[in-house]
Symmetry: D2
Amino acid sequence: MKTSFESDYNNGAHPEVICHLLETNGKQSQSYGFDEWSEQARQKIRTACQCPEADIFFLVGGTQANATVIDAMLQTYEGVLAVETGHINVHESGAVEASGHKVITLPSHDGKMEANDLEARLKAFHADPTLEHMVIPGMVYITFPTELGSVYSAAEIDHIYNVCRRYELKLFIDGARLGYGLASSECDFDLPWLARHCDVFYIGGTKVGALCGEAVVFPTGNAPRHFMNIVKRHGALLAKSRLAGVQFDALFTDGLYFSIAKQAIDKAMQMRSLFQEAGIPLRPSSTNQQFVELTNAQMKHILRDVLFETWALIDEERTLCRFVTSWATTDRDLNALKEALRTIKK
Amino acid sequence: MKTSFESDYNNGAHPEVICHLLETNGKQSQSYGFDEWSEQARQKIRTACQCPEADIFFLVGGTQANATVIDAMLQTYEGVLAVETGHINVHESGAVEASGHKVITLPSHDGKMEANDLEARLKAFHADPTLEHMVIPGMVYITFPTELGSVYSAAEIDHIYNVCRRYELKLFIDGARLGYGLASSECDFDLPWLARHCDVFYIGGTKVGALCGEAVVFPTGNAPRHFMNIVKRHGALLAKSRLAGVQFDALFTDGLYFSIAKQAIDKAMQMRSLFQEAGIPLRPSSTNQQFVELTNAQMKHILRDVLFETWALIDEERTLCRFVTSWATTDRDLNALKEALRTIKK
Amino acid sequence: MKTSFESDYNNGAHPEVICHLLETNGKQSQSYGFDEWSEQARQKIRTACQCPEADIFFLVGGTQANATVIDAMLQTYEGVLAVETGHINVHESGAVEASGHKVITLPSHDGKMEANDLEARLKAFHADPTLEHMVIPGMVYITFPTELGSVYSAAEIDHIYNVCRRYELKLFIDGARLGYGLASSECDFDLPWLARHCDVFYIGGTKVGALCGEAVVFPTGNAPRHFMNIVKRHGALLAKSRLAGVQFDALFTDGLYFSIAKQAIDKAMQMRSLFQEAGIPLRPSSTNQQFVELTNAQMKHILRDVLFETWALIDEERTLCRFVTSWATTDRDLNALKEALRTIKK
Amino acid sequence: MKTSFESDYNNGAHPEVICHLLETNGKQSQSYGFDEWSEQARQKIRTACQCPEADIFFLVGGTQANATVIDAMLQTYEGVLAVETGHINVHESGAVEASGHKVITLPSHDGKMEANDLEARLKAFHADPTLEHMVIPGMVYITFPTELGSVYSAAEIDHIYNVCRRYELKLFIDGARLGYGLASSECDFDLPWLARHCDVFYIGGTKVGALCGEAVVFPTGNAPRHFMNIVKRHGALLAKSRLAGVQFDALFTDGLYFSIAKQAIDKAMQMRSLFQEAGIPLRPSSTNQQFVELTNAQMKHILRDVLFETWALIDEERTLCRFVTSWATTDRDLNALKEALRTIKK
């Protein structure tokens, strides 16, 4: 079987996660979020976030979490601001619009939103005499790390959050790959800081060692009224909620979530070196996703032994390709890549 | 810990299901439904249904499956007909209305729809000169077995399906507990027959031995165009689709799905005998849900050792209570109930 | 041309209304609700309602007003309670569900909701442990007069409104035919009383002398935030808002709205006498809609000269038929009916 | 009172339109679109479009027509392509998203869409392996003339329509100001040509001499099934449909619609000359909307006697302002403007 760097969701669960599922399987429990492991996991996440009052809900996947949270926190007539490359704008089959909310786009700066763009847009909106004919901005959505592997600095998020508060917008941080962002060498804040600088965020499990599951955190206990009802209405309420609860219980025991992310980042940095040694251009990225410019010949050659995703055509000769690491990435995988790259050079 | 008959979703997965998750965990796979186990499970389900052309999709839960299928098969302006006690009408937090479709209700006959009611309603609708001011019926939704534990006969479903075809409505069968219906002694048809007598149905996994997962089956390959896109739009597409695929692969190997259901039914029938011996009135039910009339004193007494759900108040003295069996119900559980009932009688 | 009692919307506008449109036509004005006539009409309606703080918006039609108001006043996940015969449940093509809200039905008592039914339902809801799996009731919708021509007493509305306040639900009164209800001999309250006993209502123009237009009144200035934006989002904002403003300005000058209704009621009562004299059974109704039981032979005979609507089949021999008066009903129309009835008797 | 060039919807109806309302007011008619004037108007529009098979529906306003047509012609999961400056993307309070459809934006070229942009986007979409995670394009929406006063050539529309057909997308032309586009000196096609080069369009009445009303035309009788039901569901069905029918009957008698537009264009061209003579920069526009660059001092000066709208800030000193003509624009209005401009120059 070929080595695959296609994604961080084409492996099973981290061994400790799957083992916890196994060892708890025989025990009876409550359902719909009231099982004991969900309760424990909530408590551990509150501790990790230093948010003793946080409301925490476990949803199954990222698109579902985004659509549910956005629908819950917006008024019917409000829209959500995101950069053009934002996941909700591009890769969720219109799940946000499906509940009636417009995604209002701002320019993407390497996947990130700039607070100045945001402020200019809000200023123009409020100065516009036709504003009641426009979609009212109600929330800002950013991803951390971004879809392009970039990470915000504390100053950047702080700036965005300040604008949000000034204009009375909610700030929502999509953390589908949160662990990788926090483990990045560029990241100058930690989880408790993040939890203090937004209105809601989620801790992605699916891409960081779980089989499924995203932990939505309302840091100050600020979950919208009847949020559980809204989750159910979105088809996002697990009957056997233990499935998510047990996994997050494992992930937040002894810092597993963070060590999984750390290890994947280490592998990603080793991978960067391999490409650099091979003289292959890389986009800057300090997270587990690496974007590499390959010629058609290089692509063909590498694909013999190593799988990856094509991301975007650069020109007729070159393609931007994505190589992703995860908890499952091994030294053997990196060696396979190294070998593939070595034979290119000749 | 007390014995619980509260539901068929407060245990983990059947051992063979959880083991299959464990044994496949180390293997890499495709995602979003293209993993090898999903493919295998589809093939096994096609065989079990004798539907070689069936389109099969794995969703996470029942409400999600209902909302997604109904939205996908209806035109925007169409509604879905269900009995008043139907799950989509009562216990899904308005998930069907959330995508704009009205649930049009018919009387419930012990949880079942009667074809004559349906036909009368459709006849009246088509005779009504104001029909363009009304919601156009586009689909019939029934549950098998019903929320009240009753099961349709082949003749009853056949009659409903005939009416549907005559009026060009789709028939959708919610099989959240499908296994228990098929294993019921009252059931006079099998899975292949069912698959030939509706337009779409699903095989519930969550309540029949899995941790999560419902297999939506379009028997003749009649999935709506872009159904995968619609699944994604509903937040119902698993990135690590192996989670559902592996479980259904286990459930449809060596008839596990059917033996799980059979065993739970056997336990439920033993439970019936216990109540009957104790002189406690039971509603008729040949499935894994038993509805029992208890006095307040009886409830209080039994709850000391055995947990169950209250279903509906009958009068000030008596409550209808639900006792449910599953793959996890043991002889010991039944003995605990027996003991609790024995001590009542004195 | 045959005399028609088919509806109160198959004539043009009352002469004073159309004249006011003509005489104001040459004058320039603001748009989108800010024209001078809309402002004047608002002021006159505030006076008529004795609600100096009322927020008033002019929408085009009844279904539109219902869908917009309900969507504006409910949270996303809330539903609206109505009787089974309620217009929103039957004759609006699912416009309420189109914005995601379930219509939760209660029994109809000759078109009216009973406060006791309402209270029982709310009590049961709040006692239900599965309430987060159900649609949360957020509003009560009643029609005054009802679709069946009946009128609530002050005591009945007061009772309903008390239940609403106790359970924190909004009360919305659909007044598509409000004038006829207030002019009914059975009505024991006036417009200011009504305005004090609900959260929002509308004064129907289309069926009471205008070409189009419904005045939505939030009696205490309690319009939801950005209601104008919501109106626009529902496609209900008139660019040339003068069209509605001028008409309501006319209707609320010198009590025209009330005299139109009064006159139609007088004609309806004369019509009742004609049927009674002819020995034809009538349902009780003190409003401008009269429901008459006709045999097939009678229907055929009357239809030669006089048009009306069939409402419902009673049995194979008899049909319930609707005869409606309006500002345009003349003595000549009544004479035509009288003549038709006279010749039946022979 | 000051002269106003603020919009083409701040006057009443054209005299012939209001007179026709008056002269038909006394006559009884059918409702909900079946009145005789709606039937006549449909016939006249079919003739004017040379589309004998066309399905024609009269809706009340532009946003409503856009939202209803788009919702009716798209599958639930499909989106509509529009340029960034398109009315549906900017000034309809999210009415399209309200029924669940994403507005997918393309660059605006002076308000117009370029077929090459469209084709490139569709090509990229179909080449994208993640296409089932994206919103499926189902329709192209363009405005004629555009919000910025520009007009497409026949070649440009033909090119766009060809791309649409090749990729199986519907083409929808928003004609809120259709008359002005057809009357423009730049326009190289006529109404029948337009009707042959799209799937659906509407003939705007509100801004071209009516009080309200837009005639939605499906040129080949290709209205979606149950379109009337969809119109009702959107709250867009007039009970007294004569209101729209009578007005369009007048507008399509003796070419009134076209002469109204022609006259307004003539006035607009005279207005252009006035600005040019005054040395004030104008954006190119051959329609009834003129966009003028004014300094703050100029704005202040002109506003003493003449009203207009500000459109966009150019810099701290200058603002782009909109001056609009309509059927009601008189020589006296132009003289007032001339006088205001004359006194600037000194």
